[in-house]
């Protein structure tokens, strides 16, 4: 086990790669009562076409990673939530494009809760009957999201941008795809992606790092796993252009919801974190709540407080998302786009750059107060080959030229897509 100090942040991270390939990270937080642990597999909704180590290539139904996440909580001895509750812990899980995360938070019986976390995620128990029963629940989850205009406009934009890449597929799948899932398919996915070599355990809280690491090692040493190997993930080639420039749909909303953004080529993976931070800084400088543009749009009643932006990047995809509710989607898109194109020619000032950098560093340090955020963000950065604990250094090393270059690359009129949700004809 090695300890890596981060003196600026006053944190020390302990880590070890176990014999079975599992990577374990422990961040002690002296004085904290709570411990928070995440057990993450590098497996999400986009991994729907793959070759398991030494196996045949398979294509699986949409929504299966999320379905698997639901089903992991069932064990022969019963529902795992109850086990955690007996130990005073609350457990949860979520599935994203490229990760599935299992977690618990507890203030006592940390060792027992860690054992439970490792046990249930490493013990799949799928039967025809329990798989069938889950379908009704997941269809209700899908229906809930179908009625949610924020979710629909968000996914609508990704659908407008991407034609082949599975990032455009709803994480939960569709009612039909979910109904086609069988226990055999779940085992295929489980056996491929839940091998320790594809997983990360992160524990943060008021714990002793040595004792906790020993506990995890003993637990893992007792279990046997087949030899791990390389998983081949297959992605069809994604066109550079957006699939469709504009996508609209109808749902009852008080004002139209409009999101738009620019699709980029994913770029070199080793620069992913720097590029992501530079892109986020760029968007904040141009569109953040203290930008001139934001204030003008607000004064013209074109945006509300919910107006925002984000930058998403992962295996084979990279795009921005900008927008919110607006009385006039066309005017909003035109005004913001023009401002971005102007900034691509003129650049931003060093004053704005410095202020935005300060703001981003402050927001990052505030985020580091929250063990939940640290655990979630740490693994996300790790998967991109970065280190959450050196984000301040990356921000400090960014230059104005780099940001201005980023704007030029990003704000490409040919790569823009728009998604709108508005109330239908009565």
């Amino acid at each position: 086990m090695t300890a890596k100090p981060y003196p600026k942040l006053q944190e020390t991270l302990w880590q070890e790669k176990l014999d079975n390939g599992l990577e374990v990270f422990i961040l002690p937080k002296p004085g904290f009562t709570k411990t928070y642990a995440t057990f993450t597999t590098r497996y999400g909704s986009i991994d729907n076409h793959f070759t398991p180590p030494g196996g045949e290539t398979i294509k699986v139904p949409d929504g299966i990673a999320h379905f698997l996440e639901h089903k992991m909580f069932e064990e022969p001895e019963g529902d795992i939530f109850s086990q955690f509750a007996t130990q005073g812990a609350s457990a949860n899980a979520y599935t994203s494009f490229d990760r599935t995360v299992y977690l618990f938070t507890a203030t006592g019986e940390i060792e027992a809760n860690l054992d439970t976390l490792l046990h249930f995620v490493q013990n799949p128990y799928f039967t025809d009957e329990n798989v069938e029963k889950e379908k009704g629940i997941i269809v209700q989850e899908i229906d809930m999201y179908r009625d949610n205009p924020d979710w629909r406009v968000y996914f609508g934009l990704i659908e407008a941008m991407y034609e082949k890449h599975p990032v455009h597929i709803d994480i939960a799948g569709t009612a039909d795809s979910v109904r086609s899932i069988t226990k055999e398919m779940l085992y295929d996915c489980y056996n491929t992606f839940y091998h320790p070599t594809n997983m990360t355990l992160f524990i943060v809280g008021g714990i002793d790092p040595q004792e906790t690491m020993e506990r995890v090692k003993r637990d893992q040493a007792k279990k046997s796993f087949p030899e791990g190997g390389e998983i081949k993930r297959l992605f069809e080639e994604e066109p550079i252009q957006v699939k469709t420039g504009k996508k609209e749909l109808f749902l009852p909303v008080s004002l139209p919801k409009c999101l738009f953004g620019f699709k980029e080529e994913p770029g070199d993976e080793k620069d992913a974190v720097r590029r992501e931070l530079a892109s986020k800084l760029m968007l904040e400088a141009l569109l953040g709540s203290s930008s001139t543009l934001y204030q003008q749009l607000y004064d013209d009643n074109l945006i509300s407080d919910g107006f925002g932006h984000e930058y998403n990047t992962g295996p084979g995809y990279s795009f921005s998302i900008i927008g919110g509710e607006t009385r006039d989607p066309d005017e909003l898109v035109a005004r913001v786009s023009q401002a971005l194109y102007d900034a691509a020619s003129n650049g931003i000032s060093s004053e704005i750059f410095e202020r935005t950098r300060r703001k981003k560093i402050g927001a990052y340090l505030r985020m580091m107060n929250s063990p939940e955020s640290i655990a979630s963000e740490f693994t996300r950065y790790r998967h991109k080959g970065g280190d959450l604990f050196t984000v301040v250094e990356v921000y400090e090393s960014l230059t104005l030229d780099e940001i201005n270059e980023r704007i030029k690359e990003h704000a490409n009129p040919d790569r823009r897509a728009i998604s709108i949700v508005r109330s239908g004809p009565a």
């Binding site: 457990a91 229906d143 203290s290």
Partner: protein
Amino acid sequence: MSEQFQRGVWGRLRLHVLPTKRFKTFAVSLYAGVPLSEDRVTSVALTPFVLRRGTQAYPETLSFRERLDDLYGAGFGFDLYKRGDHQIVQFRLDIINDRFVSATESLLGEALHFLGEVVTAPALEDGHFRNKYVEAEKTTVSKRIDAIINDKIRYAAERCVEEMCKDEPFRLLALGRKDQLTELNAENLYEAYQQWLREASFDLYVSGDTSLEEVQSLVEKSFRLPAGQPSSYSAPTLRKARAEVQTIVEKLDVGQGKLNMGLRVGETYGSNKYASLLVYNGLLGGFPHSKLFVNVREKASLAYYASSRLDGHKGILTLQSGVEIANYERAVTIIREQIEAMKKGDFAMEDFHRTQAMIVGQLRELQDSAFERIAFDFSNVLSGVERTGESFIAEIQAVTPENVTAVAQGVELDTIYFLRDRKEEG
């Protein structure tokens, strides 16, 4: 727990300071509460929206927000909510502890000065608020009220409470009434604001590496409140459930039905039975091992979510679930059976202990978040009780199954609210 709040008073402000070195930030909360009333609800709601537009020192919104960015992106915001029969405005500031950045100014001092200006020295013209800000923020509040319908889960929850409490001020939204917005202008809102400064109960909380003496001296320089003493909160009036349960069905363009229920519980946060009530809520619908989750979701596969929420300040309990429209009757039957089962004391000892363990875990956990500790303490101020995390944990652990069954007798269903599609029934 060695960390305790230090208390002080400065004019109309009660001061609560939690000296701690555990966090990377200073957390500041200012609560301002007034009785929830038909006449004032909208002017009180609009006030913080106008205050966040500018101060005498930073009258332009752009310079106001740049100032926050310069303070290392201080997190500034406000919330509006109802607590019992009061309407509360909460201002929040979260600012980096100087020791993590190379700041030349005392960031806590600057932050308190900024907050003092926001609340007590707003940007003015001709002896009243700036007309432009008032008009723009009227539009913003109006849009916020309209937007509630976009999120069907929230909309159904608000409508259920509105129907249940239709004869009380509690039916009002914390955001106020749209029809009253049109009557407000820069002059009469400024008068209402001055009355609010004279009458509201003010509680200022600061958590971080500081002391009561330091905060007190900073506050004296920063807040220009009218002279006087702090005012206190009155206890809420408890109501009984209506004699006959009312059922409200509303139709909208939705795919999934939203089923909500409102119940009266006969006790409030200040009562010595509150701990029993919290365990009751946990057994009925607070957790994944609770009756609602297990019976509506896991056994019947009717829903993705089914839960209950206790509003201890008002003395009401609300249940919420999203179900297929055709399953409405079945879901109502199952949920009512669970409420009846609780009255008969029909719950497993295992689940009882789990619930206690979960609530104790939550109470311990909140010690790790500055804002949650502040919120917990403010509940005491509101209710005139003196609970600490530890004493409340002891109360929860002392609850017996008989206590839970006893409080269950006072829980009465009042309103069933169902949001469904526009199609014909059948």
